[in-house]
Symmetry: C2
Subunit: 451 residues, 2 copies
């Protein structure tokens, strides 16, 4: 019975992998239709189809790239639609990634039993379901706390009315937690540049939101015992702090004397802005300064950060921290001559390394290919096109200002990149794991010369 | 006895790995001293130390990047010194790579016996030694044939004297075969742009020279039976043709209407120039057009080609075709769900994949890091800096014209890149293979979420 049962599995589990892109496509279409309503538009006339499609895609994929100014182009109704699309898109990606995890976990479990091998999983998804509600409640509570903090600060320093302060507080808290780069202000966070009372809570929300559900679930249960965390959680948490430190320090050093960013700021604000630069590039997408005016070296580092992204099954994009760090550990193992790739007294299988490598290289090809296409379509410079393409693929939402000036084909390209960046890496990684077959026979090995 | 014997091996074989950089350092120093002689300089005064060091490094690493105009800055004596440095550097890299191969082959053989596994090697190096002389003679004969063809063409169309024609013919044939981008003409091959009588023999020499010794040795013995070639030879030969086709076609399509390159040329010359663009970017470094005037998309593709480079143990640089194609086959295996990475009825071990991955990623870090540093040091744009850094690392020698205008720190950076690009990938790959240890125990596996 076993072989035939094994043959039936792919058809059964193909479903959740296909569900992911279809659900997002449906949500984007609904969002586009809603945004096409005249009441969604501020001022006379309807939005153009392309602007509605771009905004809906950007919202559902929790990116934040925009072809129009969010604050002035859309009406309050439009803003609510965007807010809802971001919340549904953000929760949707977490839920679907978790469902995929359940299926993959089950399938791998079966596979494992058949092979009678020991295979420890990241999170035992079986007991996660009761946690889901409690974690969601915790997340929403955390969003509420951030919203309250922001509201109080906005009322104290920026807005005369409580209604406006609450609305901005809620909107920004939701955007921050979902790692979506939309802002009601034309200049994103620039109004609050150097205001620690705004930048710090927003940055904390973005940073924690980018951990992803499996990590948050594990932290929820056992954050006091880092030594018992799974490899996945350790890589994600320590990796997040490492990338934050590296990104912020690089930003601080390179931008120190740049009059458009840090040079004019007092010391504490220099630190806050640098930390913001380190956090927002890995998918937050909010900005308190103009990315067109930072030094090209900083743009280069931001591109790397945007490409790496955040945690798996999170609202952050990119190839994900675990994918990136696994490849780093491969190099470390090679430098040390280790027979196995080891992380914290655990070994990583060759199959997992192959999957990480494939995801990373396919992503490189996609971003580089899109960059060349974007250059051809728009006449943008290499770094401008690379920045915007990486921001779209990584669903980051940072921009040097290129997107609004692009023609329709270029904007459609970015729409495609946001969609593929959002569902593509998760779907591809899941499909790769699910398609793994066991060898029926071994071919003789041969070793080409490398390097 | 076995374990102690095994412990002694690393010390013994560390020698050839260390020999490689030391030999090249020594040769570069000798070259620098020779070029500092006043008779090496055309016109009054001695060359500056930096120009001599840069030229010697560029010659020994068979690159071709220059800070000064080779034809007018150096005297005929200087040209002979450069010619000799290129020949010695080119033959040296082939010989040392072969010696390393012998040692690695022997070590792997021992390892293999200990494990009682079957391990087929690329080339059985044991019987290569008698072949070495015959292949070298064949290579030199081939160089001589190209030199004669070029001499006749030069005499017929460009120079009045036979002496000048012979000198240019010999110089260009040696440069082409050694994949060194030096030219006696200020504009490299531009004088001969569209002249098939020059471009074709030079391109053939560069293309075959980039195969590398192991491939040439195997082709020498059995070129009639492609089905019996080793995986290494198959990857290198078919990969070379594939990259040639892709690179040339991309060049033809993108540059078709560019008045600075193809637009003004008749159809046959368009084809010839495109093929040249496809060949020279993978390490030849000679150019019949100005790389500063090609479209940025073409520069982007050229950067990819320069990064990939040529065959292992050849005078070409880059991460090497086999390294690149192995990673492509990993993706293919992952897409197909294959349990093993297979190439032509042979499987590739996880260790080999790890080595390829490490070489490629270290190279990416090196080139990207150098690019950011070069931007900071020189104020060059991202694409200019990336082009020059990749050209130096890949020991290609193509230039958009940035190098001569760089300050001393930037030129020193390029000197370092050429050196590391030449000996680094070979030394690192050898060291990785030699350092491989067998597992004493297995750690439990754990699988982080990817993507
Ligand atoms: K975002
Ligand atoms: K070269």
């Amino acid at each position: 019975m076993r072989p035939s049962r094994r043959l039936h599995i792919p058809a059964a589990i193909a479903h959740p992998v296909r569900l992911l892109p279809l659900a997002f496509l449906g949500l984007i279409l609904i969002g586009t239709l809603l945004l096409l309503l005249p009441i969604a538009r501020s001022g006379p006339g309807s939005p153009t189809f392309l602007d509605a499609l771009f905004t809906a895609t950007s919202a559902v994929t929790v990116t934040g790239l925009t072809t129009v100014d969010t604050g002035t182009y859309w009406s309050p109704v439009g803003h609510v639609i965007i807010l809802l699309l971001v919340e549904i898109g953000g929760i949707g990606i977490i839920a679907l990634a978790t469902i995929l995890g359940l299926f993959i976990g089950g399938r791998l479990g079966l596979r494992t039993q058949m092979l009678a091998q020991v295979d420890m999983h990241v999170v035992s998804f079986g007991d996660v379901r009761p946690l889901f509600r409690r974690v969601t409640v915790t997340l929403l509570s955390f969003q509420a706390v951030i919203a309250v903090v922001l509201t109080l600060r906005y009322r104290a320093a920026y807005f005369d009315s409580w209604l406006e302060s609450v609305w901005h507080g809620v909107f920004d808290a939701v955007m921050a937690f979902n790692n979506a780069g939309f802002s009601l202000n034309t200049d994103s966070l620039a109004t609050y540049a150097g205001d620690i009372g705004v930048i710090v809570p927003v940055s904390i929300a973005v940073f924690i939101g980018a951990f992803g559900f499996p990590v948050l679930a594990e932290l929820y249960r056992g954050w006091r015992r880092p030594s018992r965390w799974t490899i996945h959680t350790r890589l994600t948490v320590w990796g997040s702090f490492l990338l934050l430190a590296v990104g912020s320090l690089a930003f601080l050093v390179i931008e120190w004397s740049n009059p458009s960013t840090l040079a004019t700021q007092p010391f504490v604000d220099k630190i806050a802005t640098s930390v913001e630069g380190g956090i927002m590039t890995r998918s937050g997408g909010l900005q308190s300064f103009d990315w067109a005016l930072v030094r090209p070296e900083t743009q280069g580092i931001a591109i790397l950060m945007m490409f790496i992204g955040g945690g798996s099954a999170s609202t952050a994009g990119g190839i994900k921290i675990t994918t990136f760090l696994l490849l780093a550990f491969v190099i470390l193992a090679e430098l040390r001559g280790d027979p196995e790739v080891q992380i914290g007294r655990r070994s990583i299988s060759g199959r997992t390394i192959r999957t990480a490598l494939s995801i990373a290289l396919i992503a490189v090809m996609l971003v580089v290919g899109s960059t060349l296409l974007l250059m051809t379509l728009s006449g943008a410079s290499y770094i401008e096109a690379l920045f915007e393409a990486t921001s779209a693929f990584g669903t980051v939402g940072l921009s040097t200002g290129l997107t609004p000036h692009l023609t329709a084909p270029s904007q459609l390209l970015l729409i495609g990149l946001m969609f593929v960046g959002r569902v593509g890496t998760i779907a591809a990684a899941s499909a790769f794991v699910l398609r793994r077959r066991q060898p029926r026979y071994h071919l003789p090995e041969e070793q080409p010369i490398i390097g």
